[in-house]
Symmetry: C2
Subunit: 335 residues, 2 copies
């Protein structure tokens, strides 16, 4: 029997219907087999079915063109669907795709929700966050199709981190210059070296504005021109130089509370590299990039960030700062 195009579906009757459902779990079987155009193209490409429009059999080329004209982002969906099928998985059409573990099929539960996305689409952290919610118990897999049709998969989830670095209170004086501070106070210098905060600057210790802001909340005094600077005045000064300090500081403090020690991640293009233990000869396993919930970027930028993180054996984590902080990890995997 030749499958018939009806709207955005292909309807298959006769024994091909149950055969295609049984072998590979294609379509929805209800006497007839109703195939999504993505499924129908795949089966036609594999020469497992024939498809007709009116009385005329049509070619793969014609069916693909028909699908392009009728399904938004058809090529992107098709490339991801096809790739997963070629890898031997059962994939069901739903909103997006439902992917089963290797060897599994319904009535088992699908293990992944798969989103097929064009590299030309905009990355929006808010969308990614809501996709995670949508996936519920399932894991979220984002398949990005590049312009040449190659696909990169990102396993995406809410991430929890914790470590063993204790917090302390600090007494003593920090001298702010302009866009960084120096500690000339010997007791405080010693405490900071014990706490792995700041960086040696000759005989002294240099602090970033971020570290200065944190220490101010932990009891240290800020001096400007030998006079104590009021905390509010200090924060106004910092915001002028680093407008996004509030979000970053919020994440910095939250990470510290989890026993983690953030240091600048500038060399990796992220806000923080994060240690779980005292950073003497230990590896920082996470890169944390702080973003607002309105954050958007190109997928190429995200791809670069994740690829770089992996190349230095770190996990790439976006800290989405709203009322709460959501840590979202994207990890490149091969299904």
């Amino acid at each position: 029997m030749v499958g018939k195009i009806i709207g955005d579906k292909v309807i298959l009757e006769g024994k091909e219907a149950s055969k295609n459902y049984n072998k590979g779990c294609f379509g929805i079987l209800n006497g007839k087999l109703t195939l999504h155009l993505v499924e129908a193209c795949y089966l036609l490409e594999k020469e497992r079915i024939e498809v007709g429009k009116g009385r005329k059999k049509i070619s793969l080329h014609e069916l693909m063109q028909y699908a392009v004209d009728n399904i938004p982002e058809f090529e992107i969906k098709y490339l991801v669907y096809r790739d997963l099928r070629e890898r031997g998985y059962v994939v069901r059409m739903g909103n997006d795709f439902l992917l089963y573990e290797r060897g599994k099929r319904p009535p088992a539960e699908p293990a992944f929700l798969v989103k097929a996305v064009s590299e030309r689409a905009t990355f929006s952290i808010k969308d990614v966050s809501s996709w995670i919610d949508e996936a519920g118990e399932k894991a979220l897999l984002i398949g990005i199709v590049d312009e040449e049709g190659d696909i990169t998969y990102y396993l995406t989830k809410i991430f929890s981190m914790s470590g063993k670095v204790n917090e302390s209170e600090y007494e003593g004086e920090i001298t702010i210059l302009h866009d960084r501070s120096i500690v000339f106070d010997e007791n405080l210098m010693e405490e900071l070296r014990k706490g792995f905060i700041g960086r040696d600057f000759g005989k002294y210790v240099e602090l970033s504005l971020m570290e200065t802001a944190y220490l101010a909340e932990k009891g240290a005094k800020i001096l400007k021109n030998r006079e104590e600077m009021d905390k509010k005045e200090f924060l106004t000064h910092v915001i002028e130089i680093q407008p996004d300090i509030k979000g970053r500081l919020k994440v910095y403090k939250d990470l510290r509370k989890k026993g983690l020690l953030p240091k600048t991640g500038f060399k990796f293009g992220s806000h923080f590299r994060v240690y779980t233990h005292a950073p003497h000869n230990t590896h920082a396993p996470y890169l944390v990039h702080v973003v607002r919930s309105s954050y958007k970027a190109t997928w190429a930028e995200i791809s670069r960030a994740i690829r770089l993180a992996h190349s230095v054996k770190k996990e790439m984590v976006f800290a989405m700062v709203g009322k709460k902080i959501k840590y979202i990890r994207l990890k490149r995997i091969t299904p």
Copy 2:
């Protein structure tokens, strides 16, 4: 003798003047020694001079604060200057810094122009390009100071590339779907496989819009719904999907003329990965990112791009597209 602050200089008289000039080439010697505040801070930190303001000797802390108040971006300049001096180089103050090869000093010519830049500054490709011009015969070294005071150096220059991949003319038909094309034409498929263009798609060959646009200029016909598409209409369609295609295509064609073969660099967050030889089991030594001359980015993004390129053993090259194309390479080095 105690050096005297006069405006934004420190003036040293007596035998300290010639001693400090002779040992390390600090300042401008003209009977007296005129030191830039950057130089004076360094010598004071090293306890090689004393500095007075009025009748009072001042501390490093006070001199640094004075310098912060009088020299724009003093901390950034100081950290780079200090780092290069600590590495044992002679550095002279000019517009920015003039750096001599190890063991060299005036009257030798400086080997590098060094720009000291805060990670918070905006990366502008136009500025970088004009800095290369400004450096002239010297090499350009950009020192980026991160918030914790660590410095990353980028050796930056106009870059020339060439390869051994020949161009051809192409006959035959390409079927455009929406955001990519498929070649069902067997002769053309064979030619494309020989020319390393496109990617296998089952029995067929899939092309990116970029490749399709290139092939259209090289003689191939574009079909849409089995009808030939006019080149202008095709370009309008492509621009709708990929607004920056013109600049990218210009660079693609220029690279092809140089015997190079560009493929998508999406996995590396760049527009192209570029091969010098047929890409069967060969390494693509370059990543090329196409930008307009108005392109701006954060230095963190640039840092990430370069770091990723190096981690996969590639050179990071920005193709600045104006009337001509300028290829600018940034390479991370340790001085």
